[in-house]
């Protein structure tokens, strides 16, 4: 209950001092947030597309991106996407703490905003707070169950903890088109550790490149699929360290 300090959720009013009786305490309120005429055009900056800010951060021009984002404050401050982009910029710069605060700010505008929820999961994962990370990914999934990106992150988390069956569910939701070689290696490795060894073998074989760390899993997949000779050959090629627990797994699976 104490873990997350929620950014001020009440949109407060700024009030101006009145001169009634020349006392500071006499005042009249004016809702600055509703005073569009005051705000519009006074920043001196024309409105720019959020995608432009995004592009800067993606190109690792984070400082420029954040500066541009700040200048667009009045134009977008009520837009959850705006805050999410700022958080993402910080995230891309590995500024996890700052990123966290702006994703939370995004959720102030829209409490179930799936991109921010997902991104908070990423932040917490990077901060070593995996329970919180899983929690946000799950919330994000609730909001957008078809998201390949959320499924990807969940699949990766689950397989990180060896929950390969769970991970497998999510890998299946991820569009292959969006997976790079490394991702495919992980996906196939995860399948190798489930009952879907044949599928794993197919994926490994279809991928352009099996990374070195995944040869052992390819071998296990081959072993589980009945291609013992090829499995053994691959296993040897993997040169798994004797102390590596996967050796035991290999043995338990039927390897020598």
């Amino acid at each position: 209950m104490f873990r997350a300090i929620i950014l001020i959720s009440i949109l407060l009013q700024i009030v101006s001092c009145s001169t009634q009786k020349n006392k500071v305490t006499d005042h009249e309120s004016s809702d600055v947030n509703n005073n569009a005429s005051v705000q519009s055009g006074q920043s001196g900056t024309s409105k720019m597309e959020l995608s432009s800010i995004e592009a800067l951060c993606k190109d690792q021009e984070v400082t420029k991106g954040l500066k541009a984002a700040s200048s667009q404050y009045l134009n977008y401050k009520d837009d959850p996407e705006y805050w999410n982009i700022i958080g993402s910029c910080f995230l891309s710069d590995l500024k996890f703490t700052k990123a966290r605060l702006f994703f939370l700010r995004s959720l102030e505008e829209k409490k179930n905003y799936a991109p921010a929820l997902n991104n908070l999961g990423v932040v917490y994962w990077n901060l070593g707070k995996h329970y919180e990370a899983l929690s946000y990914f799950k919330r994000a999934e609730q909001e957008n169950g078809t998201s390949g990106l959320i499924s990807y992150n969940l699949a990766r988390i689950y397989q990180h903890y060896g929950l390969h069956n769970k991970a497998s569910e999510y890998w299946s939701k991820v569009s292959q088109d969006k997976l790079n070689v490394n991702d495919i290696n992980y996906w196939a490795s995860n399948l190798a550790l489930t009952t879907k060894a044949n599928e794993a073998v197919q994926i490994f074989k279809s991928t352009k490149q099996i990374s070195e760390t995944h040869f052992s899993l390819f071998a296990i997949a081959l072993l589980k699929s009945g291609n013992k000779d090829e499995a053994v050959a691959q296993w040897k090629q993997a040169k798994v360290d004797e102390k590596n627990l996967i050796n035991i797994y290999w043995q338990l699976t039927g390897g020598n």
């Binding site: 104490f2 950014l7 001092c17 305490t25 988390i157 797994y249």
Partner: protein, 953 residues
Amino acid sequence: MKSTLRIILNLIIINVICISSLSRAEDKKPRDQLMKIIDEELREIDRILRQSKKFNSELQFRKAETVLEKGRLVKESENEDFLNIDPKYRGRVNKKKFFRQSYRYYLWAKNLAVNVSKKDPNYKRTPELNYILGFYEKEFGKEKNALEFFKKAEATSKPATEFNLRCKSAIAEILYNQKNYEEAKKYYEVTLKRINDKWWTKDSHSLAWCYHKTGQYDQAIATMKKVIEKSKTGEYVDMQFIAYKDIGLFFAESSQADDGVKYFKNQNKDVVAEMLTIAAFLREKGSYQHTLDVYNEAYQSTNNNKLKARILLEKLVLADKFFKKEQHLSDSKLLINLWKEGALDPEQEKAYILQMKKQVALVQKRMDTKYKSQSGTELKEKANVAETYFQLLSIVDEKNSDEYQFYNAESQFQTMQYERAAELYKKSFDDAKKNNNLKLMKLSAEGLLAALGPDSGEFKERNQYFEQAYKNYLEVDKESNKSEDIYRRLYKLMYQQGDTEGMRSILQDYSKSFSKNTNEQDKMVASLLSVYDKKKQNDKIAELVDEVQAGRFFVSEKLKGDIYGVKQKIELKEAETSIASGDVKSAFKNYDKIYKDPKSSKLAKANAVYNLMVLSYRMNDLSPTYNYGVESLELMGNQAIVGYLPSFVSISKYLFERMQFQASADFAHRVLAKVCSASQVQYKKMLFNNAVLSYRAAEQNKKLVSLIEMGHDCKLSDDLLIAAEIEYLDSLREKKGWSELLRRLEKNNSVLPTSFSGIELEYFLDMCISQDDSKSCSQLNKNVNSVISSGTKISGRALDAVALVKSNVIWEKIYTWSQIKLRFPEKTFNELLSKKLKTLEQIVEELLALQKMGSRLGINHSYELLSFCYFQIAREIQNFTPTGVSKEYLDSFKASMGQISSTLYQKLNEYRGQAMDVMSRQESIAPLRGIFPIAIPLEQKSSLKFNYNEGEM
């Protein structure tokens, strides 16, 4: 020669005796010629006398006559000279000296005549000598003596002679001059019957007057008619002019005016002129009505404006003489029209003015207070009469119209007709001003004030005059005590009318005249400001305040100070108005002016800088928002800050949202420090949270610690303080500052509530896992025991920590258990195996207990350790090969052990399967010990994926 002298002498005598009264009409040239003749005659007489040795009475007589004549001519000349002297100096002339020459001739002639009388007492021309002596006396005004000499001459001369008639004529003239008309008439009646020369008309004119004076009016008129008739013939001296005039008088005086009019008409004379003469005479006689009738008749009988004007002027004189006021007024009114048409000459105009002035003076005199018995109506009537005259006078005598207006006003005032009086005083002031008549201006101004003084119900427009009355007065008197009062009154009036320009003007004048009266100037300035304020003329207020500050007026220092505040108040109001209208830049300018003004009070500055902060915020201007915010916190009192807490909180948030983390944190921190003891819990919480998160983002750990300490001092809630502490601890953990983390955790035991002990376990857990050192883990063990014994509610992560401690304990047992190595002989083997299985059974029970804790880490560890144990014992049994036994025994042993190990492997796989199910079901993403592959975690070699927008999902 003698005959020539005789002729000359006769001429002289005729001149001396008959023409003396007309001599003035003679030209100088004939007189000179005559003088030459006389001088020639005298020289001739003297020549003859020198030739004669005896006293020649005849020649002496002739000489006397000639010298007398010369004296007369000399005197004529002297008279002309005398009359030519400027009248201004004429009175100063010594007449004896001036006429001394003629005097010598008269005296010489007299002496000659006397000498003849003495030396020749029997001289036959004694009557003529007496005549000469009589003439001498007459010339010197000694008519009595002259009369005696003329009477002697007449008595001694031969009757019915021409000389005798001349003597009678001279006697008649002297008697007439002596107004002895009765006696004169007797002589004239004699002489005029006998003498019919050209002088007849003159003497008959005198006779007519004698008749008139002795009551013989008809004879008088008839004689005068004869004079007129004979004058017309050209053979007599023309007496028509005077005769017509006098006959008019005779008609009038003898009550025969009508006959007179008829006579004049018959004579084709200017009837009006003659009637005027008649009327004038009647007027002098005191016959008012008769005179008035003649005037009216004359007025009706002519269309000539000049004559009409003349008649009316005469009527004015008449009315004046007989106190006929209405008639006078009526004719005065009539006359004005003729005056306008230019019918009056300057003299007449003067007379007209004098008449009216005299009348109006009389009217005013009768209005004097001493005539107390007069009713109000009577007084008003008189005032109205006076006003009519003054109006007429103002027209005719325009250059003095100011005075007439003034006196008119005085009349109206006297009769309590204040409204009219006020109007007239105002006019008289204006006219006097045009004429630069300062004295009258002052009188008029005072009069107008006096007219406004009495509260008369009839004076309905009274209020309309006050302003002008005061202004008029101040124009003529700016520095007296009275004017000081008038300034105040006028200022008050302007104030009531809201006339700021007027007020300002008065203030300026007052300040010049009464510079020492600061109190009054204070009031004036203050009231002017109040009117400006009502009219929202802020620019004027600013202008006035600047003038006051510059010493333009002599006000008190206190007012100067107060006013400065007023100006700033206005500026602040303007700023507020600008804000309301969306003109933020103008508002900013106003506030900035106040803020930078060294004369601004601290309060005003605080107001201004606060609003500058707000406006900067509205203009989305970062640095100024923060800088003004900090400055406003310095200037504003804590109480005021509390009043505006929502704004300050918002500013803090704004700075954060603009990614100014350090500024946001610092600002919130400062605000919190100001409101530390305030009761606004919610806002304090927001400020604290904002500051914590912003310090966290800014990686300002020292300041974060300082803030947390302040949070304790401000007695913020435990939840808040714990949340802040967690942020700090997280920052240490993220940076792997384990020693500081440990130190902080130890310290927190004493300052944070026991509930925090559960949270601490998470950090000990992390330290224990991350460092894997005994100190951290023993600390974890210690704290777990403490938390468990206290029964504190703990989080899942904390439960993981407890589970880890238990897992570690079990792991130590397993380690010990794993050190039990099977060996032969068979009995030993069986005992050891039995022991090992029993121990395993205990371990399994403990691991199952670990699972039941509910910790995901405990579950994972439990299955991992179970699998590990079964794998260990299954593999040990499977791989155990006794030595020194037969092949058959060995085969049998291996077969038996193979079954046991197979069973154990099955159990192992069963646990692995359960583990996968439970872990997946419970999403047990907890770290394993890494001692057995119940699952193969796939380490992250690349980051998880984040998204900028929904489209990327």
